[in-house]
């Protein structure tokens, strides 16, 4: 009898929870990127970004970051350590095979691939097999407090002619921002303008604007370019396959084999 009562209670609870889960699911909006109506014809109007894109390493233009507060202090301290010891390594998550997230995933010395679908663009970064999604279906950018901070943040994009304009918020604090000794706070907003060069359709421009009221006194711009390769596909890169270099307690990579 006791067992029966328990069974019935458990059943009632399970049904109640199930109902709540269903209700919560019903309340979630269905955005156009996942709706049951779709037009692939829309894609014909977009520029051709197929193939893979390799970064022009070291050819970054832009302006100087106007750092403030503890972020300026951190940058100055790390630069002093580098100046004193050219073998010093600024500690970063990447050293441990952890993805470095946005914005750095876009500028790794490996290839990018753009998969353009109705309402959503998926970007594959070959290094560490990183993936991000940009929603282009008209949904609003959520507020910072609606996003659980994550490596790649939440990205909403729109087409301005042949330029994709992307706004990203919600990246994890402490990731690399533009250069190893600068990191972001939880208030970072990244705006990207991505477009083919007017004179060379095999050259892609990515112009970043970083805004972070805790880190920068004014927006910081960095401009990168990429060259197209139509002969290769993205290759597999699993960082945990054979990572032979553990970090010591100071975040310095150790030669260990």
């Amino acid at each position: 009898m006791q067992a029966n009562r328990f069974t019935i209670s458990a059943l009632t609870l399970a049904l109640a929870l199930g109902g709540a889960a269903l209700q919560a699911q019903d309340a979630r909006p269905v955005y156009p990127a996942s709706s049951d109506k779709v037009s692939y014809a829309e894609l014909d109007k977009l520029p051709d970004w197929r193939g893979i894109w390799q970064p022009n390493i070291g050819r970054i233009t832009g302006d100087e970051p106007m750092l403030i507060g503890e972020y300026k202090k951190h940058h100055d301290e790390e630069q002093a350590k580098l100046k004193a010891n050219s073998n010093y390594e600024v500690p970063e998550t990447l050293d441990n095979c952890e993805p470095d997230g946005m914005p750095s995933m876009m500028t790794m010395p490996y290839s990018l691939e753009f998969l353009v679908t109705p309402g959503k663009i998926v970007i594959n970064q070959e290094a560490l097999m990183m993936v991000r999604r940009i929603f282009t279906d008209g949904r609003p950018l959520p507020s910072q407090d609606e996003i659980d901070p994550n490596y790649f943040g939440y990205s909403v994009g729109r087409w301005e002619g042949d330029t994709l304009v992307v706004e990203t918020i919600g990246t994890k604090p402490g990731q690399r921002l533009g250069t190893p000794s600068i990191t972001n706070s939880d208030q970072l907003k990244i705006t990207e303008r991505i477009y083919l060069d007017a004179a060379n359709k095999d050259l892609l421009h990515l112009d970043f604007t970083y805004e972070d009221p805790n880190v920068l006194s004014q927006p910081w711009h960095q401009n990168h370019t990429f060259r197209r390769d139509r002969t290769w596909d993205i290759l597999e890169y699993v960082c945990a396959e054979n990572n032979r270099h553990p970090l010591d307690e100071n975040g310095q990579t150790q030669a260990d084999f």
Partner: protein, 136 residues
Amino acid sequence: MRTIITRAFIVSLLAGLSHAVLAHHSFSMFDQTKKVTHSGVVSEVQWTNPHVWIFIDVKADNGTVEKWGMEFTSKVHLARRNFSQDQVKIGDNVEFTVSPYANGKPGGRFYTIKLASGQYYCDVGAAQKVCDDNNK
């Protein structure tokens, strides 16, 4: 203002660059001011990411054998730079040059390798001259 980059910041960008090029870790564990060359027999090949490793048994004058580890970039980069697994086999006699580990461990970052075929394979950058001079 937009296009002005101060000299100090260029230096900091360059400091970050070496890290960016290797992607997975910095060059800081290598003594890049030095180059060490040895000959030996390939004992192990690990064709993997984030780095390819080739291990070589190097015999010292006194007859003892030391296992050297040569660390390359990723297999992704090597594939695109025309270096493949079938060019190095266990048992091959090779001559290799590395920037050695700063901590004295027997190994280092790949610079050049003279393969059993007699052909050189060289890293990107300054090492390419070795290939240009030797691969006729």
